[in-house]
Amino acid sequence: MRRANSMTRRLLAVGAAGAMTVGLAACSGGGGGADEDTVVWSTWGTPEELTRFEEFNEEFMQRHPDITVELQPVASYGDYHSKLLAQLTSGTAPDVFYIGDDKIGQFVDAGVLLPLTDLMESDASLTDPDDFFPGLFGAAETDGEIYAAPNDSNPDVLWYDMQALEAAGITEDPATLAENGEWTTEKYLEMNDALAEAGLVGSMFWNYWATHYSWISAQGGTAYDESGTFVGNDDTATVDAVETLGDYFQDGTFVVADTMPEGAGADSVFVTHEAGFFAQGRYTIGTVSSAGEQDSYDIVRWPTPDGQAAPTGVATSYLAINGKTDAPDAAFTFWTEFLSAEGQVFRLSGGGNAVPSIAGADEVVLEDGYPAHAQTFLDMRDIGFEDYAPEARIPGLSTDISDLFLKLYEGKSDAQSTLDEVAALVAEKTAE
């Protein structure tokens, strides 16, 4: 075999070293903008959402020709925060980024986000703090300082299927009862009993914080006190509410959507008129519309003992600015326009899947006239609440609490024991 001559070997070595350098550089990922006029921002999202965001970028750059905007999308919510964490640790994080409501507290506590209160109150702002609905800030606001603002929101309403209710012999319309102040817990449970007797699923819920805390709040209970201590286990109204919730899950009238089998999941059960109620957000419009069954559905708020509206859970995500951005002015310009009423109208119009988090953009929810009681989304957002700050500050705590509730729903625990375990877990985690 002929040996490579000296020059060839030198070239090969240089090439190998170069390839390795390029490889290592690629592994280090991107980062914030290269200069003070470039804004790099990141989010997760569906292909449709990401397309809309790119359109927003184009419009923004037309308005601000001196600013370049680049989107770094991450397809999966599950991978998003670990990537963001790695970027923040290595100093290569984007200038502006989304944060989920289950992670926001930790990023705020770590001091890696730019304080925004003064900027939001400045002349350059299109997003005064008072423009946002106060219950939506959650753990993004601490000690009077705002570190992120909600992109939009999704109140968990009770979607109901009129065909299923009719099949169960139910003649009253939940939304009409709510309008008349007669949408009581008793009425709601009667309807669920009738649905179960007709062989249908009464109600479907996702097992997460908004479900158990919405139910507790609607039934007059108190999960956390103002100091952030979990007190639900010592509150009679909460224990009674959770007991009722557990009973209905255990006898199969209520169903945990997360545990439904593949191929017979909650969405397909709902659009085939096999369930009466389904607690979900505005994105359900897409589910029922794609099935061509939208005329059979409407929405109603959560029932209460006296029939009056009560605060319930509102899911959201946040937009924050990197505390170490090299382009603070350009980043804030982008941030405030993205979250402004005009920005939210642009992002959410045309059958959008969320509800604005800021005043002045409500027409996107009402413009299509669907569902018939779409105003309920706005009413529930106005008085709703985000996940409690103690849970949002500790990654995984909300999931662990949901696992404890799942044991109750599966009949492996009772209401008092479940709430005692939740109280102990919260005390343990918040003490660490």
């Binding site: 090969l12 190998a16 770590a110 593949e262």
Partner: protein, 336 residues
């Protein structure tokens, strides 16, 4: 100049120096022999050695950066509390204490051991049977391609295909419902079945590799041994049980170690097939537990402690396997 090899160590040894006394005048003090030591290496060999380092260098750096450094970092972080954002705080053995009392880790260890204890013996046993069945088959190349296809297919793709098969309205559930006349089982939604589903997929996807290894082992058995046994009147079953299986046992042992370690690292199948850790953490494995703590909850200290526990567990199990081999593994040369 002639340089002879120094044997196993490769140290060059110079030939004996000329006698110090030869030709020396009588009465003159003996000339001191030239010290024996390493002679200068040939220039071309030194040059080759340098280029060798240059070519191996990128691989070594890659290994240092992506294997050695994370390994050392993991060992260090196991004794610290760190969320990736705030200051690192040393906590001694607190992470290990907390992890060993963590129900989720214990559940993960039980699930992982169950997967290993089901998939390794069943998978290897099945592979031996298939290898024996294919050994004399003329069309065995075709079968080998079919059996080996899952091995070279992405685990994610395999898991997604099986996810469709396992659906309540899927092919597998439908077939069981038709044949047995029962309601279709909810493979991935029922905590009692989800782990079985993971085992089925693991066995299926690793079968081809073991079949090829065992087939090579069977073909390597000396025909004279088989012939001698036949002359002694051994039938097919006796031949298999007393001759071929014992002679195959070193390969079975090697495969069992590799398969067991691989089972202890089960992650991607569980992650994709059963949507993270399955219903009620029914398929939560140790590696998923490490991932969840580290990248789901940003608890890098406990996550690293769990990974060290996995390392120790792997070492203990491998040591047990090596201990057991003395009784079950037959080495042809040792008995010769």
């Amino acid at each position: 100049m002639v340089i002879t090899s120094g044997g196993a160590t490769g140290t060059p040894v110079a030939p004996p120096a000329p006698s110090a006394e030869r030709g020396a005048p009588l009465g003159a003090p003996p000339r001191r022999a030239a010290p024996l030591g390493p002679r200068r290496e040939a220039a071309w060999r030194r040059r080759d050695r340098r280029w060798g380092y240059v070519f191996v260098g990128p691989q070594l750096i890659g290994m240092a950066v992506f294997v050695l450094l994370p390994f050392v970092a993991s060992l260090v972080l196991a004794f610290a509390s760190w969320d990736g954002l705030t200051e690192l705080e040393w906590v001694g053995f607190a992470n290990f204490t907390a992890q060993l009392q963590d129900e989720l880790l214990l559940r993960s260890i039980v699930n992982t051991l169950l997967i290993a204890l089901i998939t390794v013996p069943v998978g290897l046993g099945l592979a031996v049977v298939v290898a024996v069945a294919l050994e004399k088959l003329r069309t065995r190349t075709l079968y080998l391609i079919l059996f080996f296809a899952p091995v070279v297919t992405s685990t994610v793709a395999v898991a997604m295909i099986w996810q469709q098969l396992f659906r309540a309205d899927g092919v597998l559930s439908g077939a069981i419902a038709n044949v047995v006349g029962i309601d279709p089982p909810d493979w991935l939604g029922d905590p009692r079945l989800a782990l079985i589903a993971v085992c089925i997929v693991s066995i299926w996807s690793s079968l081809g590799l073991n079949v090829i290894i065992f087939l090579a082992g069977l073909q390597n058995i000396s025909p004279s041994v088989i012939e001698a046994a036949r002359i002694d009147g051994a039938g097919a079953w006796r031949l298999f049980r007393s001759i071929r299986l014992p002679l195959l046992s070193p390969i079975v042992f090697f495969s069992s170690i590799v398969a067991f370690i691989s089972s202890l690292q089960t992650f991607d199948t569980v992650f994709v097939l059963t949507a993270n850790a399955g219903p009620d953490n029914a398929t939560r494995t140790i590696v998923y537990h490490i991932y969840d703590l580290g990248f789901g909850r940003f608890e890098f200290g406990p996550s690293s402690a769990a990974s060290v526990i996995l390392l120790l567990l792997t070492l203990v199990i491998t040591a047990i396997q090596f201990g057991a081999q003395k009784k079950f593994v037959h080495y042809e040369d040792a008995d010769a």
